[in-house]
């Protein structure tokens, strides 16, 4: 069983953290991951920076630009992660846009992830149907879980389709927005969380976009299995050292 699947079986609400690899410094990747695990985070999304991150708001875009300026590349990230499984046990997911993976070679990318002990991928601009027709076999061959997004606008029919080809969790985007643009959840979100929860999907859902503190974490996980924090954590890293990560995590739960 994949580490993600194991983690999802634990009887607790999961906290997942996103960070952009190469930010604030090129070589922070490993120590950020280690500190996150030590602070009790359940799962980590390692962001592979891209020049044109369409689904992201200003915070993650700026951190990506900075990471690229620092010299981050796919090759360098893979090198940084070569011994990661000697010290880190929690599930690791790489989140990135499709073009850098396409240029690396999708099969080569998946193979490398498998060798390094990466458990899954989130690729916002790889459409579900293209994945199913062209890449699902390759992902499965290397034991990688591909995570798909749904939004408040996604039809029930499409959610059921996405559920049918997922084998980990569904990334539930909290609102119709790019990352980092919400402050707090309203009735719309609660109705949406409840609606999805009542669909009885086979894959648990983890909520992302708009989670930035204890209150939003609790609200999101009232119905869902867990929540993902990205922009708020990047902002924290902008003003704090990697050694202080524990402070941020304990403020969330």
């Amino acid at each position: 069983m994949n580490r993600i699947q194991q983690k999802l079986q634990e009887n607790k609400k999961l906290l997942s953290i996103y960070f952009t690899a190469g930010y604030p410094n090129l070589n922070d990747t490993v120590s950020i991951i280690q500190n996150l695990e030590k602070s009790g985070v359940d799962m980590i999304e390692i962001g592979l920076p891209f020049s044109d991150p369409l689904a992201d708001g200003p915070t993650i875009q700026a951190s990506s630009t900075e990471a690229l300026k620092n010299g981050m590349t796919t090759e360098i990230l893979f090198n940084q992660l070569k011994d990661i499984r000697k010290t880190v046990d929690i599930p690791l997911i790489i989140m990135g846009y499709f073009n850098p993976m396409l240029q690396f070679g999708v099969e080569a990318f998946c193979k490398k992830c498998h060798e390094l002990g990466i458990d899954g991928l989130i690729i916002p601009d790889l459409p579900v149907d293209v994945y199913k027709d062209d890449y699902q076999k390759t992902f499965e061959k290397y034991g990688l879980i591909n995570v798909f997004l749904i939004t408040p606008q996604t039809s029930n029919e499409r959610i059921e389709f996405i559920d049918s080809i997922s084998n980990g969790f569904i990334y539930m985007v909290s609102s119709s927005s790019v990352t980092g643009s919400q402050s707090g959840f309203g009735d719309n979100q609660n109705h949406y969380f409840e609606r999805i929860s009542n669909m009885d999907l086979k894959n648990p859902q983890i909520v992302g976009f708009g989670i930035n503190n204890n209150a939003t974490f609790n609200q999101a996980t009232q119905y869902a299995k867990g929540a993902i924090i990205g922009s708020a954590f990047i902002k924290f890293l902008t003003n704090h050292s990697v050694g202080e990560i524990n402070k941020f995590i304990t403020s969330i739960r």
């Binding site: 891209f50 020049s51 044109d52 991150p53 369409l54 689904a55 708001g57 200003p58 875009q61 700026a62 630009t65 690229l68 590349t73 796919t74 090759e75 846009y97 499709f98 073009n99 850098p100 993976m101 396409l102 240029q103 690396f104 916002p124 601009d125 790889l126 459409p127 579900v128 293209v130 798909f148 997004l149 749904i150 939004t151 606008q153 996604t154 039809s155 499409r158 985007v173 119709s176 927005s177 790019v178 643009s181």
Partner: protein
Amino acid sequence: MSYNVNEKGYYGEFGGAYIPEMLYPNVEELRQNYLKIMAESSFKEEFDQLLKDYVGRPSPLYLAKRLSEKYNTNIYLKREDLNHTGAHKINNTIGQILVAKRLGKHRIIAETGAGQHGVATATVCALMGLECIVYMGEIDIARQAPNVARMKMLGAKVVPALSGSRTLKDATNEAIRDWINHPVDTHYIIGSAIGPHPYPDMVTRFQSVISEEIKWQLKEQLGRENPDYVVACIGGGSNAAGTYYHFLHEEAVQIIAVEAAGLGIDSGESAATSVLGKEGIIHGCKTLLMQTKDGQITEPYSISAGLDYPGVGPMHAHLSKTGRAEFMSITDADAMKAGLELCQLEGIIPAIETAHALAIFEYKKFKKDDLVVVSLSGRGDKDLNTYIDYFKL
């Protein structure tokens, strides 16, 4: 071989819709409806009427006698520069605003580089009384002040794109983000034959009026429907797509696409995507684009803001790969010279984009009896400052 889009949204291996799930409902709504809407007789009637009475179509097909004499061939100019707002861009914005209205959208967004598409969008929004927001790179706002003022006069809100390189590519990113944030009430009018399916096909169909007219105008003037060559400049490729459309499957017609070489193909300051680009994903479609080995999209360069785009429409990537079109690239210097030459031989000041297409006559020899149609995609008023600086006028 087909050069049209297939039912999955691909031209050969290029095209598709590589979009985040957040955009899926918007794009899917458009995909399911655009052909239906365009086939409605009330739509066609309104579209044709506006092109005629508001845009001023048909645009003339003009035999450029002195230019023809100089290059010892027969050069016809398709005068898109005479359209309302000064370029071919308005053909597409008229079409898309009518689609948007039929989809019940009341908020319009657009991206713009030089400001031509922004002006064309602001124009149709004023015409229809719809809210208009135009994203424009901060750097482009500074260098295209007259077009920014035009958009404002037309009632549009111009929002600076502050991210990345702060030019057209980033303005497009910001427009896409806006659409993600406003999935229900907003239509995104993309200005070029680029973006996720169905945009390249929809934009091409709206621009295809260019080649439709060329056909009957040639028939009327010369008794033949097909030229030997059609020539157009290419950034994203909307004027080119419209100029080629009705000739794509006419084998006797040779297609020439002219890209901007900037300071030269090997100078590191270029926008010649067919030469320097590699297959990848940009702004929602698979196509040729300029990128690093690592898949990061790079910043192109051309003196002409309208050709200064790191990708090319998926139809054109297909035309390049299959060899259906001949791709040429023209430097800043050659384009500027050709622009000035058209002024002095024909009394027409072309846009610098268009001047790239005119510059090929120095490099490609045509036969005396060849019939060459060049898309004169836009007028040069917007480029006056660039011309003034370049020629120290």
